[in-house]
């Protein structure tokens, strides 16, 4: 026997749930304080596209929504120079559309632009922020940011922390996690030949959760040797991860056809996706391995 709901016993007349309160702090310290004050009853919100999806699915809104949209420093782009290296700082609240339109991203970090192009639809990208996509933990831009060695800057109430994307994403699981404030893209290394790609495979052509996403940035020197490689994969509910074993295998290698089988095996081994009612983990693995290997095959003449 199951009670879906306990019958009324208290005798008090029922009331509607407490309406959600919106807070719009104007700086990060206040945002941080509000979250500390309301704890698990509060939630940060930026574009709100994910929260609205969850609300429609039946998850009630938090009692307190702390909107970061009035914190001006969180939005827009800054060009930085750091030890002679060109960097782009993207405020966490910058919309995916603005990122996609940014000429620097298009020129220096095209695989990020490519990743963004595959997130949701134009209308959603006009609201959704790059910070939101990162904090979602399974966002499609994450593998691209990983291989571009992007840095996540976050605020923990007193100081600004600098982490790689993977480390920051890990921290989002914790209570009182630091607020993501910006993402910094360092100018990618250059070499005789660059192999870089972002690939997303979904059940439909567009506006679709990923089955597999892979991103790669590889430098090959004049003698055809891989001298720098960053490779990452995500998809479904699995958090995107760097594929370190595969990277190590390819590092310093002049690729020949026999290596492709080994690379295929390595990807199968170290990429650990999850199954869902529509797609098995096994399929995701095969697709990730195929897509990655087919790209590296291009290096073999």
């Amino acid at each position: 026997m199951v009670n879906e709901h306990e019958p009324l016993m208290s005798g008090k007349p029922p009331t509607l749930p407490v309406p959600t309160k919106i807070w719009r702090p104007s700086d990060l310290s206040e945002a941080w304080e509000l979250k500390r004050r309301y704890g698990s009853e509060a939630c940060y919100i930026t574009g709100g596209t994910l929260i609205q999806l969850q609300r429609e699915q039946g998850t009630p809104l938090a009692e307190h929504l702390i909107s970061l949209d009035k914190i001006n420093v969180l939005e827009g782009f800054d060009q930085l120079e750091d030890e002679g290296q060109f960097k782009l700082r993207i405020g966490a609240l910058t919309t995916l559309s603005d990122c996609h339109r940014n000429v620097f991203i298009e020129e220096y970090w095209p695989i990020l632009a490519e990743a963004i192009r595959h997130v949701a639809s134009p209308a959603v990208r006009n609201r959704a922020t790059i910070g939101g996509n990162v904090c979602y933990q399974v966002g499609d831009v994450i593998p691209a940011l990983m291989v571009l060695e992007a840095e996540a800057v976050s605020f923990d109430g007193t100081t600004y922390l600098r982490n790689d994307i993977a480390t920051y994403i890990q921290s989002v699981n914790g209570k009182d996690h630091p607020i993501l404030t910006s993402i910094t893209l360092p100018e990618p290394p250059v070499s005789a030949q660059v192999l870089s790609f972002f690939k997303k495979v979904g059940r439909r052509e567009a506006f679709i959760p990923s089955i597999v996403t892979v991103a790669c940035y590889t430098c090959i020197n004049e003698s055809g040797e891989v001298e720098y490689i960053r490779l990452a994969a995500g998809g479904g509910t699995a958090s995107p991860k760097r594929l370190y074993e595969s990277e190590r295998f390819l590092q310093k290698k002049v690729l020949v056809e026999e290596d492709l089988g080994r690379l295929y095996d390595l990807v199968l081994q170290e990429y650990v996706p999850a199954s869902d009612p529509f797609t098995t983990a096994e399929y995701r693995k095969t697709v990730a391995a195929n897509v990655i290997v087919s790209e590296f095959e291009k290096l073999i003449q």
């Binding site: 026997m1 199951v2 009670n3 879906e4 709901h5 306990e6 019958p7 009324l8 007349p13 029922p14 009331t15 509607l16 749930p17 999806l53 429609e56 699915q57 039946g58 495979v201 059940r203 439909r204 052509e205 567009a206 506006f207 679709i208 959760p209 056809e257 026999e258 492709l260 089988g261 080994r262 690379l263 295929y264 095996d265 009612p277 529509f278 797609t279 098995t280 096994e282 399929y283 095969t286 697709v287 391995a289 195929n290 897509v291 290997v293 087919s294 095959e297």
Partner: protein, 763 residues
């Protein structure tokens, strides 16, 4: 009766178009009334359970709540269903699927109604879930209805298949599985139900058959039919999904209980959980060919999962049985179909009506046999194709037709051109294939089923000629069809006409807006009404003007006389005619039945349309994903009434089936939906469809065909899946048995063939 002229020029802009493209059109879910309440339906928490108790006290006490209803508040029959009322309006003791309604609430706001629903306490005892149709009839399986889980059996026997299989030189046997497709009309179920001051009820809720809703609601509410008015049009799509009652009973009960207008508009999630779906089927076919290449034996077993309640399950099964031999002549046939009750949602009417499922299987058999025989698949079909005056698929006489040959020939020529096209492949990991399939599809409800139609023409006092039909506009373009046919038949102009549909207080019964029958019925009605109506007007005109009746005819703006040079000379306007008449309005009405076969063979159809599809796919060898790059169709359905509407029906039906083939499945596990909204239930987006699609309309009918244009609401959706499946086989060698096509299975097949050098290295 004369044949309708084949015409490319009938390219009318739809009369409902301007209001649709500007957003001015009020759908019934857009309506707003003073003092209107919002209704919410509390549905079951379990796919199968006994209800032990229902407590609504707390919900009733919530401020703003105006009415809460349960089974106790149903004054009449607590059940509905177009044919057999076996679905409870509000469950009393048992719930049989997750969409079963247990209570409903009306409150001042949506939020209040929603919260009140959460305060209704229902005590359940969960029961074992019957989720596998194959086990539904097992002795140990719980019975969902008093008579058990067998909903319906249907069969067709001809000759002796067992004997015939012995004479076959080639036999193919395969089991095909097809999914639970969702209609996904963009406008979810809803509308407003208004209690009127004179104790009548007006129901502004979209449906495909206003009069049927009125009948069903009358039975539920214990209220005379005359006291219920159904306004059923327009709708934001239906595709068969809104023919059965949906939210009407709850809105009506709440409106009567609260005495105020009640609006219910289901969220997409509520729509997924409660709404009808296409029948999932498992179809096993064994088909054998003799040495001369003729199919001589065909054995078919169909298992259909109707879910919790019967709605139109039996009729759909019978349609599937009838269409399981398609347009082919097979001397020995044994087709057996069973539809069963399970706790998996409710399956019912859906564009194609069981035809799409069996056509996928049948055309799959044709392609497999042709492959085994190493003959051209279209040539193999032609070799077995029906002739013009061949008997119908279940032994009934049907209207003479060349449709099968016409569409086959057309698609064959199209394929030859397509093959010659130079295709540059985007990269080396993509391969292409072309597949074709054909089908025939019955219109109307079939022999032995009440299939009445009718219409009315009236010269109103305003001088407008009113054409009234009991049809509903769900997007298919019936308004444009009526406008075209009436203006052509009467010779009047669009501005002389006022078209009225979808309101039981204003229109005669025309039967259901279903089964591709609308266009056909409007044309038939006009053939019957044209002469008597014109006669009424002309007699009156003669009396008023003195111009001899035989010289007068209905024309643009009024009665005219045609001069020697062919010019129309106006004699009297319709307005003058109407206003100078002292008696009643001049009205002609007609009632008749959809044409059926003269042979008493139950469910047998008489008028068929034919379709042929060419699909070209591009398969990605790295992912197994399939992209359809061409989807072209040839259709034989008589004269085109409105080319724009015709093309739209075929393209739209085609893409809906592209989704059926590659993407769509309202997946269930243990009676629960695994997908509850459009993030996981995927219908094709613009990126999933060919950028241009060709539609070849074959308008020629046999000489002296008296039946006019046939409807094309369904035919464009029927033969798409097998054409895509064959294209995939052409591309990568994989024979699809199960829809939607699994990229995983395609990729496994590709990997088996070791197309990638790295997988080879793996071995």
């Amino acid at each position: 009766m004369q044949q309708m002229k084949a015409s490319e020029k009938r390219n009318r802009k739809r009369p409902d178009g301007p209001d649709k493209v500007t957003g001015r059109l009020n759908y019934l879910t857009d309506l707003h009334f003073p003092h209107m309440l919002y209704g919410k339906i509390k549905r079951s928490a379990y796919p199968h359970a006994r209800i032990l108790s229902i407590h609504t006290e707390e919900a009733e006490q919530l401020p703003g709540v105006r009415a809460v209803v349960t089974f106790k508040d149903v004054p009449g029959l607590n059940a509905f269903g177009i044919v057999t009322p076996d679905q409870p309006v509000l469950c009393e003791d048992t719930v049989r699927y997750v969409g079963d309604a247990v209570a409903a609430v009306a409150a001042d706001t949506k939020e209040m109604a929603e919260h009140a629903c959460s305060l209704i306490a229902i005590e359940y005892e969960p029961l074992p879930v019957v989720d596998d149709p194959a086990e539904a009839l097992g002795a140990a399986t719980p019975k969902l209805h008093p008579d058990g889980n067998l909903l319906h059996k249907a069969h067709f026997y001809k000759g002796d298949v067992d004997d015939a299989f012995h004479k076959c030189t080639e036999i193919v046997e395969e089991t095909y599985q097809v999914p639970r497709q969702m209609h996904t009309y963009m406008e979810t179920e809803g509308g407003v139900i208004v209690p009127e001051p004179d104790d009548t009820l007006t129901v502004y809720v979209g449906t495909q058959h206003g009069y049927k809703d009125r009948f069903q609601l009358s039975r539920i509410l214990n209220m005379p039919e005359e006291k219920i008015r159904i306004v059923s049009s327009p709708m934001g799509g239906s595709f068969g999904g809104k023919d059965e009652l949906n939210i009407q009973p709850y809105g009506a009960l709440l409106a009567l209980a609260s005495g105020r207008p009640v609006k219910i508009h289901q969220t997409r999630q509520e729509s997924v959980i409660s709404g009808l779906k296409r029948h999932p089927m498992r179809i096993t076919m064994k088909t054998g060919v003799a040495a001369d290449g003729k199919i001589i034996a065909h054995k078919v077993d169909i298992l259909a999962d109707t879910g919790a309640y019967s709605t139109l399950g039996p009729a759909i099964l019978e349609f599937a049985v009838e269409h399981s031999t398609g347009p082919y002549v097979i001397p020995n046939v044994k087709t057996e179909g069973v539809s069963v009750f399970t706790n998996n949602g409710v399956a019912g009417e859906f564009r194609g009506f069981g035809g799409n499922q069996v056509t996928f299987a049948l055309e799959g058999q044709m392609d497999r046999l042709a492959y085994r025989l190493d003959v051209d698949p279209l040539e193999f079909r032609r070799h077995n194709l029906r002739e013009t005056d061949e008997i119908g698929p279940i032994g009934q006489r049907i209207a003479s037709t060349d449709g099968a040959y016409q569409v086959l020939q057309s698609i064959k020529e199209h394929r030859q051109l397509k093959i010659k096209e130079e295709n540059e492949m985007p990269d080396k990991w993509k391969v292409r294939g072309i597949g074709t399939a054909i089908t025939m599809h019955g219109g109307g409800l079939g022999y032995g089923r009440l299939d009445p139609a009718g219409g009315r023409l009236c010269l109103k006092e305003s001088g407008k000629i009113e054409a009234a039909f009991g049809f509903e506009e769900a997007g298919q373009g019936i308004l444009g069809v009526i406008e075209t046919i009436v203006t052509e038949e009467l010779g009047c102009s669009v501005s002389d006409l006022s078209v009225v549909i979808g309101d039981t207080s204003l229109v005669p019964s025309s039967g259901s807006t279903t089964a591709s029958r609308g266009t056909s019925m409007v044309w038939h009605a006009l053939q019957k009404m044209k002469e008597p109506f014109c006669k009424l007007l002309i007699e009156k005109g003669e009396a008023l003007t003195g111009v001899e009746g035989h010289r007068l005819q209905t024309g643009k703006g009024g009665l005219v006389v045609t001069a020697h040079d062919g010019e129309e000379i106006p004699i009297i306007t319709y307005e003058e005619l109407a206003q100078q008449s002292t008696e009643e309005e001049m009205t002609t009405s007609t009632n008749f039945d959809f044409p059926t076969t003269p042979d008493p063979i139950d469910s047998g159809h008489f008028l068929y349309t034919f379709g042929a599809v060419l699909a070209q796919v591009e398969v990605d060898l790295l992912t197994g994903k399939v992209k359809v790059i061409d989807l072209d169709q040839a259709i034989a359905a008589g004269p085109v009434v409105n080319y724009l509407g015709y093309k739209g029906q075929i393209e739209g039906g085609g893409v809906m089936s592209l989704g059926y083939t590659l993407l769509e499945d309202a997946l269930m596990s243990e009676g629960e939906y695994m997908t509850q909204n459009l993030d996981a239930y995927l219908i094709p987006g613009i990126g999933d469809v060919p950028f241009t699609m060709k539609v070849e309309a074959i308008e020629t009918l046999p000489e002296d065909d008296p039946y006019g244009p046939r409807g094309v609401g369904e035919i464009g959706s029927v033969a798409v899946a097998p054409a895509i499946a064959k294209a995939i086989q052409e591309a990568v060698g994989y024979w699809v048995r199960r829809l939607p096509v699994s990229s995983e299975e395609v990729l496994a097949e590709v990997s088996k063939r070791r197309i990638n050098p790295w997988t080879k290295a793996m071995q």
